[in-house]
C-alpha cells in the first residue's frame, strides 16, 4: 500500500504538485489522469524516485520513505517504466533485461543463468514471448515494451509504475499492453499508470485519480464514475460538446475523384470526395489507411488507375507536386516528420508558404518579406491559440498539443483546398484535442476538403461526415455520418476473428 501525504513539488516559482493526497491499494490498477502539465507525470516520478518532492511524504506499507533516485525505489520494491523506452537497441532482449544487474560469478556473466531466469519470468507472467535472442531494435514496439516490463520485474518490485505506456503505440499495439497490465495485477502486483486516453482507463483501471494544475480534482473507484465526470475533473468544466457541430454540410461539388487508383500498400479503389467534406479514414496500422493518405499527398506513386483533382489529372511525384496542385499531407509524427524542432515557431508556421511558388512572403528575386511574415505568423498564433504565444521560441519548447497547432496553423497560412491529416490528435492533451477538432471543422465549413486518417475510431465517429474503412490494403466499407456504431467500425477494421478476440479481452 502506498500513501501519498500532502505531497508538493516545486520547480522554482512553478508549483507542479500542491498538497496531493492519494491512497494506492495493493493489487489494483490505479490510473493517474489529467491534461498536460496537470502534474500526473510528476506524481508518478516522485513515486518512482525520479523526482524528489519539495514537501510531504510517501508512505510505503505505513513507513515514510524518501527515494533519492530510482535505484533506491527499485530496492524498496517500486519499479518505474518510462514513457520513452530506455532499452539498448543493439543488445538482445536477454541482455537488456539484466543490463547492469547480470548474474555473475567471479566477475563473469553467467549467460546461461541469465537466459533461464528470463525464461522463468516470461513463463510465470504468461506474457506472449518475444524473441529475446534478437536485438531489441528488431522487435515491435509492443514486444519492446514486454522486454522493458521484464527488465523492471527482474528487479523484483511489488509496485510497477507506467508513465504513459501507450502514448507512442497504435491502437492495435495498445491492447496487448493493457492486457499485460491486467496480467500483472492478477499476479498480485500493484500497477500505477499515467494515461491520456480515457478509453484505456475504463478498460483496465480499478481506481482513478485526476489531477488539474497540481491538485487532485477527482479520486474514485472506476465503478463510481463516468466519462463526463472524469473529463469535467480534467478540464475544470463540463464538456458539453467535445466534438464540434458542423455549421455547413459538404457541398455537391466533387473535388477529388479516384478511379481504380492504387499504389504500393493498397488495392485499386474508386472513390469520390466532395468539397467541404470531412472524410474519415479508419483502419489499423498496415491496413492501407496511411498508404491511401500518402498516395494523395504525393509520397507514394500512383501505380495504376487515375486520380483527378478539380477535374484535372492528378499524379503527384512528390509532396511539392501535391502542394502545387492543392493537396497538403500532414504526417503522423510531428517531431520527426513535421516540425523543425530547433527553429522558431514563426519559421515553422511559415515554412510551406515560404516554400510555395509565387509566395506572398517571397519577392520575385527570392528575398523574404520578413515584416509580413512576422505579421501573418503573429495573427495565426493567436488564431490557433498557441501557448506560449512567443513566435521566437523554438518549436521544441512547446507541448505536444501546441506543437500540433503550429503544424495545423501552416495550412491556414498557406491555404490548400484539400488537407490529408494523419492522426492529428495523437499524443495531444484533451484540451488541445477539442481545439484541433474545431479547427478541422472550421476548415471544412469554409469549403476545404479534409481527409482525416485515424487509428482512433471515436474521433472519426465524432467529426467525420463519412467514414471509409481499410483492411489488408482494401477499401472494405463506407458509412455516412450516423450510419455506423463504434462496434461496427471496429469489426470492419479488425476483421471478424480479431474483433471477437478484442471483445473477449475487454469484457
Amino acid at each position: 500500500m502506498i500513501g501519498v501525504r500532502d505531497l508538493s513539488v516545486r520547480f522554482g516559482p512553478i508549483t507542479a504538485l500542491n498538497g496531493v493526497n492519494v491512497e494506492i491499494r495493493p493489487g489494483t490498477i490505479h490510473a493517474l489522469a489529467g491534461e498536460n502539465g496537470s502534474g500526473k507525470s510528476t506524481l508518478l516520478k516522485v513515486l518512482g524516485g525520479a523526482q524528489t518532492p519539495s514537501g510531504g511524504t510517501i508512505e510505503l506499507d505505513g513507513k515514510p520513505v524518501i527515494f533519492a533516485d530510482t535505484s533506491q525505489a527499485t530496492a524498496a520494491g517500486v519499479g518505474l517504466i518510462f514513457q520513452e523506452l530506455s532499452l539498448f537497441p543493439h543488445l538482445s532482449g536477454y541482455s537488456n533485461i539484466y543490463v547492469g544487474n547480470e548474474p555473475r560469478s567471479f566477475g563473469l556473466m553467467q549467460l546461461r543463468r541469465l537466459r533461464e531466469d528470463a525464461e522463468r519470468l516470461v513463463r510465470e507472467l504468461g506474457f506472449p514471448r518475444p524473441d529475446l535472442e534478437r536485438a531489441v531494435a528488431e522487435l515491435t514496439v509492443a514486444e519492446q515494451q514486454i522486454v522493458e516490463i521484464l527488465k523492471c520485474l527482474s528487479r523484483k518490485p511489488k509496485i510497477v509504475l507506467f508513465d504513459e505506456p501507450t502514448a507512442s503505440l497504435t491502437q492495435r499495439e495498445i491492447r496487448p499492453v493493457l492486457t499485460n497490465m491486467k496480467r500483472l495485477r492478477d499476479q498480485g502486483y500493484t500497477v500505477v499508470f499515467v494515461s491520456h486516453y480515457l478509453e484505456e482507463v475504463f478498460a483496465v483501471a480499478d481506481r482513478i485519480t485526476v489531477l488539474r494544475d497540481g491538485s487532485v480534482t477527482l479520486d474514485e473507484d472506476m465503478a463510481d464514475v463516468d466519462r463526463d465526470r472524469i473529463l469535467g475533473a480534467m478540464l475544470g468544466r463540463r464538456l458539453t460538446e467535445f466534438y464540434p457541430a458542423r455549421k455547413a454540410a459538404p457541398l455537391r461539388e466533387i473535388v477529388l475523384k479516384l478511379k481504380d487508383a492504387d499504389c504500393s500498400g493498397i488495392e485499386p479503389l474508386t472513390l469520390e470526395i466532395r468539397k467541404g467534406e470531412i472524410l474519415g479514414v479508419a483502419g489499423t496500422v498496415g491496413s492501407g489507411s496511411a498508404a491511401f493518405g500518402e498516395m494523395l499527398g504525393g509520397l507514394r506513386r500512383l501505380r495504376g488507375g487515375s486520380m483527378a483533382l478539380d477535374g484535372d489529372r492528378y499524379a503527384p511525384r512528390n509532396a511539392a507536386d501535391a502542394l502545387r496542385a492543392g493537396i497538403a499531407y500532414v504526417p503522423e509524427d510531428r517531431r520527426t516528420e513535421a516540425l523543425l524542432l530547433d527553429l522558431s515557431v514563426a519559421s515553422n508556421m511559415s515554412l510551406p508558404l515560404v516554400a510555395a511558388p509565387a509566395s506572398s512572403l517571397v519577392t520575385a528575386r527570392g528575398f523574404l518579406r520578413l515584416r509580413r511574415e512576422r505579421r501573418l505568423v503573429e495573427h495565426e498564433i493567436s488564431h490557433m491559440n498557441v501557448r506560449p504565444g512567443n513566435p521566437f521560441l523554438p518549436a521544441r519548447a512547446l507541448s505536444g498539443g501546441n506543437q500540433q497547432k503550429v503544424v495545423l496553423g501552416r495550412w491556414f497560412l498557406y491555404d490548400r483546398t484539400c488537407l490529408v491529416l494523419n492522426n492529428p490528435t495523437k499524443g495531444v492533451d484533451v484540451g488541445s484535442k477539442a481545439e484541433i477538432y474545431k479547427f478541422i471543422a472550421d476548415l471544412a465549413d469554409s469549403g476545404h476538403t479534409i481527409i482525416l486518417i485515424s487509428n482512433y475510431n471515436p474521433e472519426l465517429l465524432g467529426t467525420a461526415d463519412r467514414i471509409i474503412a481499410f483492411r489488408e490494403g482494401r477499401l472494405i466499407a463506407s458509412y455516412d455520418r450516423g450510419e455506423v456504431t463504434e462496434d461496427d467500425l471496429l469489426a470492419s477494421t479488425m476483421g471478424g476473428i480479431e474483433a471477437m478476440l478484442v471483445e473477449e479481452e475487454t469484457l
Binding site: T336, L339, G366
Partner: protein, 327 residues
C-alpha cells in the same frame, strides 16, 4: 488605429538577436583584444591590424561556405584541397596564356574547379546515402592528389604582375583581399537570413523530411550548398595565391579545419539548423586574434595550435549552456 513605425522592427530585432546569439564569442573577443593590447602595445597598430585581417581573409571566405554546409547538417572537408587544386590550375593557366585576359581566364578556371568539386560533393551527398563526411574526405584526397599530379609537387611562381599585386594592393584603406572577404561575408549573411534559399538551408538542416513535406526541393538545395562551398573555396584559393604570390599544390592543407573551427566557435551546430555567417566571422576573428596576439607575445606556433584546440572545445562547451533565440 494606425501606427507609424520609427524603424524597421524586424531588422532591428534580428540584429539584436544575432548579437545576443553570438554575444559570448563577442565578449571573449573583446577581452582578448584588450588583453593583447595591454600586453603588447604594437597589437593595435594599424599595420598589425591589417596583418591580422589579411591572415584570416582566406579562412573567412571558406567559413562562409562552411557555415551554409554545416547548417544543413553536412560538412565540407574538401575546402583546403580545393584551394590547392584551384590555385595551381588557375595560376598555371595564367602563367601559360599570359596577356591581358589571362587573369580572368585563370580565375574562371579556378572557379570552375571549385564548382566541379562542389557539384560532385553535393550530388553524392544529396542522392546517395554516403555521409557528407566521407564524400568530402574522399574528394579532399582526390583533389589534393590531382593538384600534386599536375604540378609534380612543384610550386608555380609565374604570375601576371597585376595579379601579384592584388593580394596586397589597397582599395581605399584595406587591402583588396580583406575587402573581398568582407563583401562576401555580407552577401552570405543576406543570402542566409533574408532569402528563401537561406531559410530552406535552415529548414533542411533542422528536419529534411519536414522540409520536403513542406514543398522544398531538398536535394537541389543540398547540391547548391556544396557548390557554393566549392566556389568559395576556389575564391579562397585565388586570394591565397595572390597573397603569397605563388601557387602551391598543398597551400590549403588543413584550412578546412580552421573554417570548421570558426563556424563551431560561432555557435554553428554540426547537427544542423543552427549558425549564422556573422557568428562564424566572429569565430574567424577569434582565431585570428589568438594567433596574432600570441605571436606578438612570442608564443611558439606549436603552442598556438594547442591553445586553438582548447578554445574550440571550450566554445562548444560554453555554447551548451546558452539560451538561444531560434531562427
Amino acid at each position: 488605429m494606425t501606427t507609424q513605425p520609427m524603424a524597421n522592427p524586424t531588422s532591428l530585432r534580428s540584429g539584436l538577436v544575432a548579437l545576443l546569439n553570438s554575444s559570448l564569442v563577442a565578449a571573449v573577443l573583446v577581452v582578448l583584444i584588450i588583453a593583447f593590447s595591454l600586453a603588447a602595445p604594437e597589437f593595435m597598430s594599424g599595420s598589425n591590424v591589417l596583418n591580422l585581417l589579411q591572415s584570416v581573409a582566406v579562412i573567412a571566405v571558406l567559413s562562409i561556405g562552411q557555415t551554409f554546409v554545416i547548417i544543413t547538417a553536412g560538412i565540407d572537408l574538401s575546402q583546403g584541397a580545393v584551394i590547392g587544386l584551384s590555385g595551381v590550375l588557375g595560376a598555371g593557366v595564367m602563367g601559360a596564356t599570359g596577356g591581358a585576359g589571362s587573369i580572368i581566364l585563370g580565375i574562371a578556371v579556378a572557379v570552375a574547379v571549385g564548382l566541379g568539386v562542389g557539384l560532385v560533393n553535393g550530388l553524392i551527398t544529396a542522392f546517395t546515402r554516403v555521409p557528407a563526411f566521407i564524400v568530402t574526405l574522399g574528394t579532399l584526397s582526390i583533389a589534393s592528389g590531382i593538384a600534386l599530379l599536375v604540378t609534380g609537387g612543384e610550386p608555380i611562381y609565374q604570375l601576371p604582375p597585376a595579379f601579384d599585386s592584388f593580394g596586397t594592393n589597397a582599395l581605399g584603406v584595406f587591402p583588396d583581399i580583406i575587402m573581398v572577404s568582407v563583401m562576401l561575408a555580407i552577401l552570405g549573411q543576406i543570402l542566409l537570413r533574408r532569402t528563401r534559399f537561406g531559410r530552406s538551408v535552415y529548414a533542411i538542416g533542422s528536419n529534411p523530411r519536414a522540409a520536403a513535406l513542406s514543398g522544398l526541393p531538398v536535394r537541389r538545395n543540398i547540391v547548391l550548398v556544396y557548390v557554393m562551398s566549392g566556389i568559395l573555396s576556389a575564391i579562397g584559393g585565388i586570394l591565397l595565391t595572390a597573397y603569397v604570390n605563388s601557387a602551391l599544390p598543398t597551400a590549403g592543407a588543413g584550412y578546412e579545419l580552421d573554417s570548421i573551427a570558426a563556424v563551431v566557435i560561432g555557435g554553428g551546430s554540426l547537427f544542423g539548423g543552427q549558425g549564422t555567417v556573422w557568428a562564424s566571422m566572429l569565430g574567424v576573428l577569434l582565431i585570428g586574434v589568438l594567433g596574432n596576439g600570441t605571436d606578438l607575445l612570442g608564443v611558439s606556433s606549436y603552442s598556438q595550435t594547442v591553445i586553438l584546440g582548447c578554445v574550440v572545445i571550450g566554445a562548444v562547451y560554453i555554447d551548451s549552456f546558452r539560451k538561444r533565440v531560434a531562427i
